[in-house]
Structure formats: structure tokens, C-alpha cells
Assembly symmetry: C2
Homo-oligomer: 365 residues x 2
């Protein structure tokens, strides 16, 4: 089988991050030596400074920045927290020790740095992301959630103890968890020509059993509902580094449509990052119009489903194309259909009939 190689070695993100931290640290020292109060310039993350960028096809921050200065007594607390976090991020990155948002909160107590609660420390972590323009995974703060992946993709680990070791992801049919070691691995080679992200574990298993990986030369990813950040990063890398198109299958409801949208264009509260979006990803179903077309069994929408439809209609990303059209149909029919609804026509109807039709259609979209 012809393999697509990834010649570009994975950037040493740790080295890059430490360089940026050093620059900021040097600035603090320089301020002090010049008899000035040290400060950080932080891109403003308030709603008024978040806008949708049609070219990048994601939310971005405007040019407003706030100064967080140790001179201002009302900012001294959050300045100190941010300075400590930069120190701690440097330590994690040097030692290559993974942590979580919650770990960081408790770790602060070892240094007598005071956070009211985890909410306060989470917020400072996002501040540091914005200052560095780097996702927190680069300074070894990872999400708890684990989704999984299966297919002919060979990765090469970079984490301590596994450097240079390779793993092909097609030998364990239940899938490989997507965590820190996969997120940081080099994507070495693949014979796949496509990535299929699917919302549910049961269907992931169906796809593996029905050899969707072989029949459609694809890598299959179980997002487990809303895709965790690690999974979104991996999807982006598969698209950019391995040049693979990404298609998304979700339940046929407004939440499913939005799961696809978040993979495609991220969320407003990550407007300061570029690592979490796959603007070319295509949501291929279950569309609202598929419900009638495929005569799927439906469930009536709840009040909160309907409210969610109206909320999303105000979102700038739902103003054109299938995003607008399908949302309108959902709002009109007030019904939803799950991916498993295809089982009405036999368990393999979704892989034998629906999937090939949708993949054919994806080529023309």
C-alpha cells in the first residue's frame, strides 16, 4: 500500500515555548533593573474584542490589550499569579511532566500562591495562553478527557522513555486513547486518504468492524461527544501535516451540528489560539434534511433544543451554506434523529449505504 510520509519533523514545541517564556522573564528583570514596576501586556479577551474572521474562518481577538502591572495594587494579585504560572509552566516544560488544570490549582498551594478556587487559576492559565499565543498543552497542561483513534497511521513518540519508538494505530480495534503522548508524537506515515470523525463509541466500533478504515482508506476518530482539545489538535495536524481531508458525522440535531462546528472553527473563548480549528473540515451528517431523505425515525425536540436552535441562528458562523440551511430545517421540523436511527434499515446500513453516499457528496462540497 502506498504510504504518505510526513517529512516535516514535528517542531520542538517545548524548546520554542521555553524561548518565549525566557523573553518574558528577561523583560521582568529589565523592568526591575530600570527601577520600573514589571508588567504583562495581555490580549483583551472580553466579548467586545472577540470577532469572527471570515478569512481564517474562526474567532480571533482584536488588537486591544490590557496592561497587568505590579504597580497597580488592584492588579498585584493577578500579576503575581500570572508570574508564578509562567514560572510553573517553565518547570513543567523543562521536566516534561504532564499536568491538568486541577493539578495546577493544587500545585500553586505548594508555593503559597493564593487562588480563591480552581476557576480563578483556570482563568490565569488562559491569560498565559493569550500572552504566549500558545495552547496550554505546549506547557504540559492537558485535558482529562480521552477520545480514541484507529487506522493505518504510524506515529513516533517524543515523550521521555518512548522517544523514537513507533506505533501503528491499526492493531487494536477498540482504538488508542488520544492523550499527551499522542498529541506530542510525530505523525510519521499513513496510507489513509481521509479522516472520519464520529460522535459515538458504538458507531466507532461499528465502523472498525465493517472495515471502514480499509474500504474507504480512512483513519477513524471517536470524538466521544464534543471533541476534547487534544482530539481537535490531532485532527488539525492530520489535515495540515498529512494533507488529509476531515469529515465529521454526528447525531442529527443542533448539538451534533455544533460539535462539527467546534471542530471546524473552534469557540469564542479560544479566540486567542490557532491550534484548535480545522476550517476545511466538512460536516456530512446527520443533516436535518437527511431525516426526510432517509426516512429516519425521529425524536421530538425539547424546549431547550429549540432554544439552542434560535441561539445558534445569531452566531455569525451559521449565516450561510449548509450550516444555515440545516439549522433552519431543524428549527422548522422540531425533530432530531440519532446516528443509530439507520439501524432501522439494518446495522450496516450506515456503513454500506449512507457513508458512501455522503463521502461521494463531500467531494463536491
Amino acid at each position: 500500500m502506498k504510504k504518505k510520509q510526513n517529512k516535516k519533523p514535528e517542531k520542538d514545541k517545548s524548546k520554542e515555548l521555553i524561548e518565549i517564556l525566557k523573553k518574558h522573564g528577561a523583560q521582568v528583570y529589565e523592568d526591575l533593573e530600570n527601577g520600573q514596576f514589571p508588567k504583562f501586556s495581555i490580549p483583551n479577551r472580553s466579548i467586545s474584542n472577540i470577532m469572527y474572521d471570515k478569512k481564517l474562518r474562526q474567532y480571533i481577538l482584536g488588537t486591544n490589550t490590557s496592561l497587568r502591572s505590579s504597580r497597580n495594587t488592584s492588579q498585584l494579585r493577578s500579576f503575581t499569579q500570572l508570574l508564578w504560572l509562567a514560572f510553573f509552566a517553565n518547570k513543567l516544560t523543562h521536566e516534561k511532566k504532564s499536568s491538568t488544570l486541577r493539578d495546577v490549582y493544587y500545585s500553586s498551594q505548594a508555593f503559597a500562591v493564593d487562588f480563591e478556587d480552581q476557576g480563578e487559576s483556570d482563568n490565569i492559565i488562559v491569560d498565559l495562553e493569550a500572552v504566549l499565543s500558545k495552547p496550554r498543552e505546549n506547557f504540559f497542561v492537558f485535558p482529562e478527557e480521552r477520545s480514541s483513534i484507529f487506522g493505518d497511521l504510524t506515529i513516533e513518540y517524543t515523550i521521555p522513555g518512548y522517544e523514537g519508538k513507533k506505533q501503528n494505530l491499526s492493531t487494536h480495534p477498540d482504538g488508542y486513547a488520544i492523550g499527551p503522548s499522542m498529541t506530542s508524537a510525530q505523525l510519521a506515515d499513513t496510507s489513509a486518504e481521509l479522516v472520519i470523525a464520529i460522535e459515538k463509541g458504538g458507531l466507532f466500533t461499528r465502523f472498525v468492524e465493517e472495515q471502514v478504515d480499509k474500504k474507504f482508506k480512512s483513519i477513524i476518530i471517536n470524538t466521544g461527544g464534543q471533541a476534547p482539545r487534544s482530539t481537535r489538535t490531532l485532527l488539525k495536524r492530520l489535515h495540515e501535516e498529512m494533507k488529509l481531508p476531515v469529515v465529521i458525522l454526528t447525531d442529527g440535531d443542533v448539538y451534533g451540528e455544533h460539535i462539527a462546528m467546534v471542530i471546524k472553527s473552534g469557540s469564542a473563548n479560544a479566540a486567542h489560539l490557532r491550534e484548535l480549528t480545522v476550517p476545511d473540515a466538512k460536516w456530512m451528517g446527520v443533516w436535518a434534511t437527511d431525516i426526510d431523505k432517509y426516512k429516519l425515525p425521529t425524536i421530538p425536540m425539547t424546549e431547550s433544543d429549540i432554544k439552542r436552535c434560535f441561539d445558534l441562528q445569531k452566531d455569525p458562523r451559521y449565516q450561510e451554506g449548509i450550516w444555515k440551511k440545516e439549522l433552519e430545517v431543524f428549527t422548522k421540523i422540531k425533530k432530531k434523529a440519532e446516528l443509530e436511527a439507520f439501524s432501522k434499515y439494518g446495522l450496516t446500513n450506515i456503513t454500506d449505504k449512507y457513508l458512501p453516499e455522503k463521502l461521494e457528496l463531500a467531494k463536491s462540497l
Copy 2:
């Protein structure tokens, strides 16, 4: 490294299940030939027939059974549903096609078998488990949830397309998803002497990074909160087939204590099954008494936490030993502590200090 071999070949569960189904099917035919209305005898699953068995250390059903007869017009609907499900279970098992509770619900529509909603079909699936005394995984109905596993364990797959293929579970540090293929695999060999089940993904990764698998000769399982059924089945098999002790680490709160209890002794609504419990499993922390002993940062309990404490005090399984003692301390101090709280003393404090102390203690319990 010395390997422990599993000489006992995994029973052919599919064959066994089909035999049992055949026996029930033959009975239906026999009834019809004798001019009688066919019927099923179903172990009664009402609360009055569920009791705690101190010797088995799990809930069991009493001897009451109900007759579900096609003669009784009020039972005709549920009799037909059950008969159809037995037919469908036979089909799934023959074809070795995995499905989910939701798949079964939609599949029924292909046969014009009427279920009001998924709740009704879920209930009939549990009825069939009770009739067959076999868990639904044996007739290829699997949970959606996927937790993960890491360590020196070699498994041999039995699912179509992978029969006889082996996989060692120590090469992907983020862990291998525990799904249908792992649940049905033969456990071939291991050098591990212990299984550690831990509640959270972040700590699973910490344990792998700190080589808890090597330092403590262990297999590490991330339960991802409440352990899914597949994970509980795998824990039981590791204990029974590979003779490995199982220890459990959870957050230090009443929910954590109960996560451990469910791994140990199951739940009342699975009283008709024996495949989901590990009666010898040991909950090793975070205990309520550890909060003071290790000077852990705490979070105050909410009203609903406190209510849960009082509810569990009525549970027969919380009437002795550490289960009773720790629950009493939680109820008294009205505080809880997360596993990450140890990060106050450094990220590796939990693996360098707490874990070895607890494993030493486990030997004497």
C-alpha cells in the same frame, strides 16, 4: 521478566449463549406443538426479590420468578418484545456484530416490533439477561463508554478479522481503549503482579509517566469516573484468570468511595449477573482519614454530597470495615479531597509517597 501465563482458554461465550437461546427457542416450539401458549419464566427483579449475599459479597436475586405468558393479553406485548429480542440476540451473536442499547431500540423498527421508547427496550434487554443469566455483552450489546488500560499484558483477539492476533498493552502510553475487542479477547500473559484502577485520566497519565507499571509491576486502568461495565468485566477477569489483586484509587469523597464499591460488589440492578463484580478488590484511597493524615487541601461538601452520605449509610454494604468507618468520617468532617490534592506536595508526591504506602498497607488488609 517472569511472565504469568493464562493456560485456561477463554470460553467460547458465543457458542454457550447460542446453546442457551436454542433451549429457550425449543421450549417455545414445544409449547406450541402441545397446544399451549408459549411463555418465559423470568427471575423477579423487583426490590422485594433483591437481597445482599454476604458470602458472594454482592446483590443477588431471590427465588421468585414471574411468568410472562402469551396467554395473558396484558403480557402479550412484553412477551413478543422478549421473543423478538431473543431472536435478534441470536442474530447478533451468530454474525458477531457488536451493537448498543440504542442500536437494539432502532433495530426493532426494522421488524415492526413496537417499543414506546428506548427505556422500554432497555428494560426488555435486562429481562433477557435475567432469563439467560448472562450479561448482554455475551449477545453483543456493548456500552458506549470507553475507559483505558496500560501495562505489560498480552491479549489475543477473538473478534472476526483479528482472531489469533496478539497485542501487548505496554507500547502506547496514553492507553488502549477497552471496548468489545478487548472484552472478548483471551488474556494471554503478563509480568504484572497487581492491577491499579484509578478514577481520572490525568492521574492515569501521571502513573504511566512515573512508570508505576514498572516500579510496582502493575497494570494501570483509567476508569474515567464510574467504571463502565466492560471495564468491570475486564477487572474481574484479570483478578480471576490472571490471579492479580485489584486496588482502586478514587477521589476522597462519597462518590469516590462508591465508585470503588461498585467495582467490588456491583449494583442492585445487576443482581441477576455475576460477571460484573470483583469482591476481593480493595479501595485504598483517598480515604476520609487520609485527609487529616496527609494534610490534604479540601473542598466543603455540598448539601447533595451530605445527603448521599446518609443514603449510603443505609446500604447493607456500608455496615462494616473501612466502608463504614470512612463513610462515617466523611459524614462527620463534611469535607472532601481530590486525588490531585497531593500535587500540593509536588506532582509526583502521589506516586513517590502515597501510592507505595497504600500498596504496603493493602497487603495487610
